[in-house]
Symmetry: C2
Amino acid sequence: GDTVTVADYLLQRLIQLGVTQMFGLPGDFNLGSYMRFITCLLTRLMLLESSYRFLGTYMPPDATILIQFIPIVVQDYVEDSPITWVGNCNELNASYAADGYARVKDSSLGVILTTFGVGELSATNGIAGAFSEHVPVLHIVGVPSTTQQKSKPMLHHTLGDGRFDAYFKASQQFTISQATLTNAATAGAEIDRILTDCVVAARPVYLMLPTDLVHEKIPSRRLRTPINSLPPQNDAEVEAFVLDEIMKLVNEAEQDVLILVDACAIRHGVKKELEELIAKTGFPVYSAPMGKTAVNETYERYGGIYVGSISHPEIKERVESAKLILSVGGLKSDFNTGNFTYHIPTTRTIELHSDHTRVQFASYHGIGMKNLLPKLTSRLQPHFEDAKEIPVPKFVRPVPEEDNQIISHTWLWPRVSQFFRPKDVIVAETGTSSFGILDVPLPEGAIFCSQILWGSIGWTVGATLGAALAAEDLGLNRTILFVGDGSLQLTVQELSVMLKLGVKPIIFVLNNSGYTIERYLHGENAHYNDITDWRWTKILSTFGGEEGKNCQSYTVRTKDELSALLDDETFANAEKIQLVEMIMEKHDAPRALKVQAELSGQTNRYVLP
Amino acid sequence: GDTVTVADYLLQRLIQLGVTQMFGLPGDFNLGSYMRFITCLLTRLMLLESSYRFLGTYMPPDATILIQFIPIVVQDYVEDSPITWVGNCNELNASYAADGYARVKDSSLGVILTTFGVGELSATNGIAGAFSEHVPVLHIVGVPSTTQQKSKPMLHHTLGDGRFDAYFKASQQFTISQATLTNAATAGAEIDRILTDCVVAARPVYLMLPTDLVHEKIPSRRLRTPINSLPPQNDAEVEAFVLDEIMKLVNEAEQDVLILVDACAIRHGVKKELEELIAKTGFPVYSAPMGKTAVNETYERYGGIYVGSISHPEIKERVESAKLILSVGGLKSDFNTGNFTYHIPTTRTIELHSDHTRVQFASYHGIGMKNLLPKLTSRLQPHFEDAKEIPVPKFVRPVPEEDNQIISHTWLWPRVSQFFRPKDVIVAETGTSSFGILDVPLPEGAIFCSQILWGSIGWTVGATLGAALAAEDLGLNRTILFVGDGSLQLTVQELSVMLKLGVKPIIFVLNNSGYTIERYLHGENAHYNDITDWRWTKILSTFGGEEGKNCQSYTVRTKDELSALLDDETFANAEKIQLVEMIMEKHDAPRALKVQAELSGQTNRYVLP
Ligand SMILES: Cc1ncc(C[n+]2csc(CCOP(=O)(O)OP(=O)(O)O)c2C)c(N)n1
Ligand SMILES: Cc1ncc(C[n+]2csc(CCOP(=O)(O)OP(=O)(O)O)c2C)c(N)n1
Ligand SMILES: [Mg+2]
Ligand SMILES: [Mg+2]
């Protein structure tokens, strides 16, 4: 018809943007919204009739009630929306899941729905992390009615002092745009405004949805114009000038131009443009840690990971001696740059960013790489045919021979590298994992997810859930998680949601008796870096799984045990959720972490008086 | 000596305020502080030599390393501090634990230490809850050095855009005072300022502790003057006037004065003053839900819980017909007042608050109850000897006879009421539990903890840990938790910390297949109110417990099974942590919840178009 409810409007927009899953927990201030989403769930359920994937692997005891329930609620809505509702265990995990989903679902966004106060504030860290790492996440909060927002009664979930805007104010610190819907007339435009900001800036946004507005009718007309998710056009004159400047430097450097890709190349969606640039110029390509998998790591002219002084010496040498560095989507955080140890003079640097360009010392605001890159590629292409001659050491890490059976970091990462398959989604937790995985190449089409800037431990567990759902959606391969025993303890319950939804990640738990990464920073043997010993292989069954049926857990203590498992086809095919506890040494760490910890420890170190 | 380090200063202040436990997680920005606290832990460990309570029940594998480690670190500090370090599983749980600790440890405060950004923001909900419910919690955050705060490098755990004050700004919404230590000269005064605000206002405060200041030396002189935790004196003239006004109304009401106690009587520390007032006047006493256990519930002139229209009819009738209501520490939130259904005219009301007094329509700012109450008591005492004649229906709830074996809410709460012992600490989660427990009396000296205003589910799990530690400290009896299956999923990992520390709560899990309370608000049979079925009796052993040794789990399905368990002396003596899964009906709820849900549902209800 000509009108839709506010909830429908929002949903339609999300569907247009490719959203297929929504994360969160119910609460009485958002039940109105839930009611709406459950209809979608049920629609999907009907479509998939024979499969109970969305209700867990068991036939749910109330399936018949649900089916009876369908006509009442769904009938009016059957036409719409394949968005399914993921009920998470808690809101932090839900925010992590939305983040993980958005990272894999490239041009779409992650969505989390929580209730007022208690729900939304539990997600703060997850939303702030999405801000920090440039991930588009929409945070919808079900809030008291517009009338209550004005009269400010002392409702549950309030601070008790009438400040109904406190959560909104806090959210302003961690989101790029906020909207609090106050009337039907502006609701559609407000939703469009924050959704546009979310996808264009690749940052989280915040939406307050009062209980009474959810089902207000608004015109549907706007829905016919899709949300623009492209960045603004560059000013033609400035852009031409910038291209000339770049070409000057490129010419001066002769063949010796090197491309360094980083986080924002992925987050601001220029992987395609980058691929063209690389293929057509043949320039050598290296990646910062956060840019891992922006470029196919098996590409012959890809040289591996550059992290300043903690890079492999050969990589460091190659990158730092190039005459010109074309940096694409750079994000120079401490852990992403070997604690700020780039040895590349600004005079030899061109930086392409999502919303500006730097050529040596000059900044050009408003000149974004999405539009600049194709033009740059075509300017470059005719010229540098023999840039292809510059040698690039192959990025390979053979499995080292060690004369013991200990699962060491030096052995582990090259070994699992052989296990990866094209289009796998590989998630690595902050800790020894995120350092170890950097050192080895991932296959073609693989997607790497890690929080190298934000570094909130426990993030991967929720993120893996979201990533796995997105991967299914996109027809990618397996989702593989590496997580420390310490980190997994923060968010472990989300494994139960994986069981419920039937996603099938392979989860490698690095059991090294605690917070090894912190031992490198402080308190090598200190009690506060120990954790309680859990029975990791019992976790899945405790959370409702049936070992051997819809889940499988393993403990491996030796290289041979792990190798055998990795070589097992059934295991490798990931037909159910699998958890592999790997027993490792408390004080072992990947080379890069040892060096990094030394570098960053110096800055924060407390020296005993 | 004449100087102490900033960390020592802070610690000494906390010790003076009676703090014995500190909650949180390590991170590299707070390791300096941890280093300091670990020394206290180790000191304590040495003192308790024979017991490994603080390292779990097993002999820790690295005990010898720890012992070797002691001389290096502890030697200089052996003299001080019985504060022990509780390493939590995640920061939200840690904040809940600090909150629970502070609630039980009446005149002290709860302390949580987290790392910059990722750590602190995970605790936001817990801190906001402490604000809402008037709980004194100090949130210490280990942050980058003062130099880094100025130069703003792109460190891990930052938002990546140089806003180093964003977390501070967010914290301003949820804490009553904040301090960011910037130099040694003001550090002591700043610490004192926020600690004073914390304990006087009974609200959370926020402290940023830069890595480089932790071990700066500052004068110790201030430490000789203890922190003042008393509220300011009342203006004598205004106070005298107010007392006259009150006496006028009391005289007019003749004998018919009724005392209604509420949350702030507990939180703002007037339980003693209240006891005097009650004992000396003999006025009938009733309690709002949040005031439960402010007054001994077995006291003969205590009539039970008043919650507006959802009170038991006899209680409602008594309270609403009294000629004058003396309300002490009132906090009129929706769930605390039966959705704002007090039928008591303002003309018949006197309200005593922590920082003001209301007599009918007149407000007297700055006249606080802590100082007013003793004066009021002495003015009242000579007069109303026969107020004691007003009948008060005894607050008892006999166990009903039911002709089935289902563990129903009507049967459950009176039955467990018989199980309680004096000085038990009883914690009830938001959901059917918090409604059910209100209906039954608790024994003398019992402490009741629940979040009736904030209502963040999962809170009780962390809170129980903190409460149990505080209870041990104060020589109280058992800590008993009632928690819904839905709520427990949010924060379940904290059970492992209970195992580690060897605290021994009895945990009743109400397994009613999901979010029953929400079913009463919306979506009776909806999928989003279902949860995955966990194997509850496997939880403790999965988290490292040894069934029968340091933990015990039970499932009870019938009234007889539960009764037998409650009557079992070994069980009742709570010698190890125990978890009791109670199988209950999905759609059953305590009477009060059914009525309340109806009342509050109307406000937030979404009606299908
Ligand atoms: C939410 C949060 N809390 C605390 C920290 C500080 N921290 C960083 S790494 C780490 C320990 C990780 O331990 P584990 O997962 O076992 O990793 P590994 O032993 O492999 O290093 C901690 C506590 C953090 N980054 N995020
Ligand atoms: C952090 C948080 N998220 C969501 C909610 C909304 N909520 C209130 S009660 C509840 C369900 C509680 O279920 P359960 O613990 O099983 O209790 P019961 O079934 O006994 O009612 C939910 C989801 C909340 N109050 N707090
Ligand atoms: Mg570890
Ligand atoms: Mg339940």
